[in-house]
Symmetry: C2
Subunit: 238 residues, 2 copies
DNA sequence: CGATCTGTTGACGGCAGTCAAGTCAAGTGG
DNA sequence: CCACTTGACTTGACTGCCGTCAACAGATCG
């Protein structure tokens, strides 16, 4: 790699999306080309990124923050159908609309790609399409895992399942591997947790308190969780 | 097309998988090549097609019947996480295992493809990969739709949602378009319906009886449903 | 005829939803 | 600085939906 090139790639080098996301599939040359159609954009908590049933004008990867995907019924009942953490992708190729809302749950930074150019590069860079396909397969697995949570688990198991999921993802992100204990910030409000778990937020509160009483978790702030024994949490999660 | 060729393609011509499934993306030449790695196989009701967490030795499309995808918790609680009807695909490329069981819910005919050869053709025939990717995106949509059913809907709405789903799919398959009424065979047992809906099978029975009493549906046999007004069913389904 | 499987209906209880009150922390404005 | 508001979270009391247990009906089959 020439010095000039190393400099140009510098911006992306340490980026999670390059390290573990879709940019990881690109060669250096492809990456340089890809950079030209991308730009960083920031969203505030609560801001809508994509509306349901509208043609998406956006294809992006999450650089930081949490994006929640939600669906609502006519009478206002809401269900979170997915959480996107770095370096997950947002947006949909091949013309169909996203049948859900995408909303910033925290402050969010996206790496946005020009939509029209992206579809072209998808054909040109076979690794990109492959990478996106595999992420979609993983998302499908996650969605089906969650169907078990929503269909069959008790309130306590649901809360434990979510804590385990986020504890695992956060330790993987920071330590790069699985650990026995975990300390992490759950960046969602109680009502958002409830919406993901198919519960009322009061029930979420009660179950968190119950897990605290059992010594499975500790809270150093309303959203700062510490899990002394992930194994024990996994046992409770079903 | 030469006469000889028309004859060779004859077997596939009227097949649902050719008409509306992954074979639809193939040119005639590709189809001829694809036929060489495929063979028909039959499964009896209750027979396991794929076990969870084992490396799949199978890639296949559903020719007839219903395949249910299930997950079970350690204590036996079971959740159906997907239903495959003709011409849906079963099996997973790129090495990962299927984290669920695939079981024949009815008598099932699959068109099975040699696994090793299939992965090769996936790279060779770009339309095949594209088609599979799009099916995966549709399955993800369906899974997320179902998360709303499992997380937020009442028992009555759940049963109505399933009936609507299967009524729609069956009228689409037979008439090729949406209709106002529907008569169809729900090929699942009550306990399987319950497992898909996250309910007990007794509750499913009760809700079916309740819908019958309301005049939303009629039953000419335990599994033969008739819906005089799909609109009314949709209203109830939430 | 009994055995088995599938489906239906009733009685009862428990888990989680609803309604409500209250705590706590962080603004906001006088 | 203090009174007030607001939003997030917690906890309690009560209710109701749905799960569990149970009895029974109908169909199929040996």
């Amino acid at each position: 790699m020439t010095a000039e090139r190393a400099c140009k790639l510098g911006h992306c080098g340490p980026c999670v999306i390059r390290q573990r996301g879709i940019c990881g599939s690109l060669t250096e040359d492809e990456l340089l080309q890809f950079r030209r159609i991308s730009r960083r954009r920031t969203y505030e908590p609560g801001e809508t990124i994509l509306s349901s049933d509208e043609k998406a004008d956006l294809f992006a990867a999450v650089f930081s923050g949490v994006v929640k995907l939600t669906k609502i019924l006519f009478d206002g009942r809401q269900q979170v159908v997915g959480l996107l953490l770095p370096p997950d992708c947002l947006g949909r190729p091949y013309g169909k609309v996203n049948p859900f809302f995408a909303e910033a749950a925290t402050k969010v930074e996206l790496c946005c790609y020009s939509y029209s150019a992206f579809e072209g590069l998808l054909e040109e860079f076979s690794g990109l399409k492959q990478s996106l396909f595999e992420q979609t397969l993983d998302e499908l697995d996650a969605a089906r895992d969650w169907m078990v949570v929503l269909g069959r688990k008790t309130a306590e198991e649901r809360v434990a399942s979510l804590l385990l999921l986020l504890a695992t993802r956060s330790t993987l992100a920071t330590h790069g591997r699985a650990t026995e204990t975990a300390v992490f910030e759950l960046q969602l409000k109680r009502v958002e947790i409830a919406s993901f778990l198919g519960l009322s937020y009061e029930t979420v509160c009660r179950q968190i308190s119950a897990l605290k009483k059992k010594g499975i978790i500790r809270l150093t702030g309303p959203r700062r969780f510490s899990v002394p024994d992930l194994e024990a949490l996994a046992d409770i999660s079903g």
